[in-house]
Amino acid sequence: MILIAIISLGGIGAAGAALLYATSKKFEVYEDPRVSQVQEVLPAANCGGCGFAGCAGFAAACVKADNLDNLNCPVGGASVMEKVSAILGKEALKTEPTVAVVRCNGDCDARPQLNQYDGVSNCAIAAALYGGETGCSFGCLGMGDCEASCNFDAIHINPVTRLPEVIEDKCTSCGACVKACPKNIIELRKKGPKSRRIYVSCVNQDKGGVARKACTNACIGCSKCEKECAFDAIKVENNLAYIDPVKCRLCRKCVVVCPTMAIHELNFPPRKEKEADSTVKPQKIQPETAATVTPENK
């Protein structure tokens, strides 16, 4: 009895195995082994920052492409791209690491609230509806579309200032928040040596008086920084200053002259005393520097 069972079940098993083997041979899809090799060195974040749906798509595109000029993994940065180029034998462009920077400094004290929004808590919907709760129609709406879009827990709305803050160590510069922000406040900026950066923390294009009335921290387009800059890195257009991160030499002179303190410096050592005596105005606590001491980082 037991013999019949062994034979019949063994036979079914053998037949099944033969069928499976034949099928797998017949319908085999050839995959370039380099795709999985590349995929292995990628960060596996599937964030879409490269422009592809996920890391697998990016790996396939890297293998297929003639050169890696237009392909870059912002999360992995130069080190990962080096490994990819080693696997594929194609030259990868050297890219500088970038990080997300929030260009709005209109906290609740600086920007008085003029009306109350009680619609859906979603920046894109609010922005489609009107200019926002304050007099500044360019600034942050504070409902956290950026926070919701971040896969890396790197950007959070500060409940006190109602402004997003980037945790630099976690930010992979995938660009999800840049795309999510309907006001185009967030910019991917060059990380800079020792993470030191100088940028204008405002995107208000109103005339000086109007901008100032709406927000005491706004860039008023006075051009003082433009004149102060010895490296031609600052341009004022549409009543708004912009610092070119490539030309900027991090001398910090513009930070000092800005009458509204709209230009922010990040991760610099404190200034020397005598400098402070002459022209330096007391600096406010900057949200981004404050962000580095959030509970997770302590």
């Binding site: 003029l114 009306n115 619609g119 859906v120 979603n122 919907i125 489609a128 009107y130 109103d206």
Partner: protein
């Protein structure tokens, strides 16, 4: 059995508080703010500069594109500045500020009350005069009228439908206009019929205005081709496609223009403006605005110059009552909360509604219970809950495949939702995104 449109619709409380209140002419304010974007399409281009003197009715801005309209000064005085001002859109946009000095009108404008019935102009000349007067659709969409009257080549209108349904709760400006200016409205309709060369016009009026139906029916016997059609009260019957369905039982296909059903739809307020423009040479510089609200001491209908700050209108109606939560520009269904009481009246302002805090509060959103009430009431036959989800999860392909661009933003879905889901908020966002994607694909 009265007619109405065949798909969906709701019947919110009518609350026509200012019904029957006579039109009151509001005093000219000290300063007017005339935005350059009072119509759908490209903003007009200012042709005056700071310090210029203008009279009432002087052309101050020319069309900035094909879909655009002339703008005239609504007062006489001096141009104070051309600067950005916050308007009903909630954004700062360019506007012309005029300091009022007396009230001197352009000589060509006939300010008498004489009724002029005869018109020797050809259809083309009538359309040119309408364009010169800067007339736009006064129902709220503010689409430049001359474009609507010039159908694309190969299309021929068979019927003119006049939208006098005023399906929005609270608003009464069209109602009182029909009662007081019935003859003028009917002459305006005759002019519009001549402009598009049709023999038949139907004025659709909802059955909650029996006095207007009676009044216009009496008057219309003297005007051949004009017919008054009472309609069942149903929101959003004032929507172009809904009104066509109600009146001539034809459905306009997705993405098609009303002219494909052989119909041209104009608002009753527009036909009055057409009368004034063609017969009296008067550009669109004033309009009737309903000022209403349950706590307002004197809800009323005001004939207001374009550019008057809405503050002045609310003062005339008794001032802002205590406990006011929101000031809405337009009606409660399609109107939009205003960010400031300094916002000026524009061509498209049909009403100002003051809601109390209790009325204006938005209840917290709950989970969808799949009751499909929104599907039942959607007058376009869409699936609002599906479209909201598609937008929430940025599935634009799904949104487009389910005709999100056909949404007329009437708000029936949000109104009816027992779970207080902000359906229209999301759908409006998705519609904008999908329209952008379609435009990019075509380019």
């Amino acid at each position: 059995m009265l007619r109405t449109f065949r798909i969906g619709g709701i019947h919110p409380p009518e609350n026509k508080l200012s019904a029957g209140k006579k039109i009151v002419r509001l005093a000219v304010p000290k300063q007017v703010i005339i935005p350059l974007s009072q119509h759908i399409g490209a903003p007009a281009q200012a042709i005056v500069k700071k310090g210029d003197m203008v009279k009432t009715g002087t052309l101050i801005a020319k069309p900035g594109g094909f879909v655009s309209a002339n703008i005239h000064s609504s007062v006489s005085g001096k141009i104070n500045k051309i600067d950005s001002a916050i308007d009903a859109s909630g954004y700062k946009r360019t506007a012309i500020f005029i300091d009022v000095d007396g009230d001197e009108w352009e000589d060509a404008i006939d300010r008498s009350d004489n009724l002029i019935k005869d018109c020797k102009l050809s259809g083309k000349e009538i359309i040119d005069k309408i364009a010169a007067a800067g007339i736009v659709g006064l129902g709220g969409a503010t689409f430049p009228t001359q474009i609507k009257l010039t159908p694309p080549p190969g299309n021929k209108a068979e019927i003119l439908i006049i939208n006098a349904v005023e399906c929005e709760p609270y608003l009464t400006s069209d109602h009182i206009l029909m009662m007081e200016k019935g003859e003028e409205v009917l002459i305006g309709v005759t002019l519009l019929m001549k402009a598009i060369d049709v023999k038949r016009a139907v004025i659709g009026i909802e059955n909650n205005k029996p006095d207007a139906i009676k009044h216009l029916t009496n008057l219309a016997s003297a005007y051949p081709g004009i017919e008054i059609m009472p309609l069942k009260v149903q929101y959003p019957q004032g929507g172009e496609k809904q009104l066509i369905d109600a009146v001539i039982r034809k459905q306009v296909k997705s993405g098609a223009l009303p002219i494909s059903a052989g119909a041209v739809v104009q608002n009753v307020g527009t036909s009055f403006a057409v009368y004034e423009a063609v017969q009296k040479n008067k550009p669109l510089i004033e309009r009737v605005v309903t000022v209403t609200g349950k706590k307002l001491t004197n809800p009323t209908n005001l004939l207001t110059r374009i550019g008057t700050p809405i503050n002045a209108l609310i003062e005339e109606a008794g001032g802002v009552p205590e406990n006011t939560g929101k000031i809405i520009g337009g009606g409660p269904m399609m109107g939009k909360a205003l960010v400031s009481p300094d916002v000026p009246v524009t061509k498209g302002s049909s009403g100002i509604l003051l809601l109390t805090k209790e009325e204006s509060v938005r209840k917290p959103m709950q989970n969808c219970i799949r009751c499909a009430k929104c599907v039942n009431v959607c007058p376009m036959g869409l699936n609002p809950t599906l479209l909201m989800n598609a937008t929430e999860f940025t599935n634009w392909d799904m949104a487009e495949a389910n005709y999100i661009v056909d949404c007329i933003e009437c708000g029936s879905c949000s109104y009816t939702c027992p779970a207080n889901r902000p359906l229209l908020d999301y759908i409006r966002l998705g519609k904008g995104k999908v329209m952008g994607i379609i435009r990019a694909r075509k380019a």
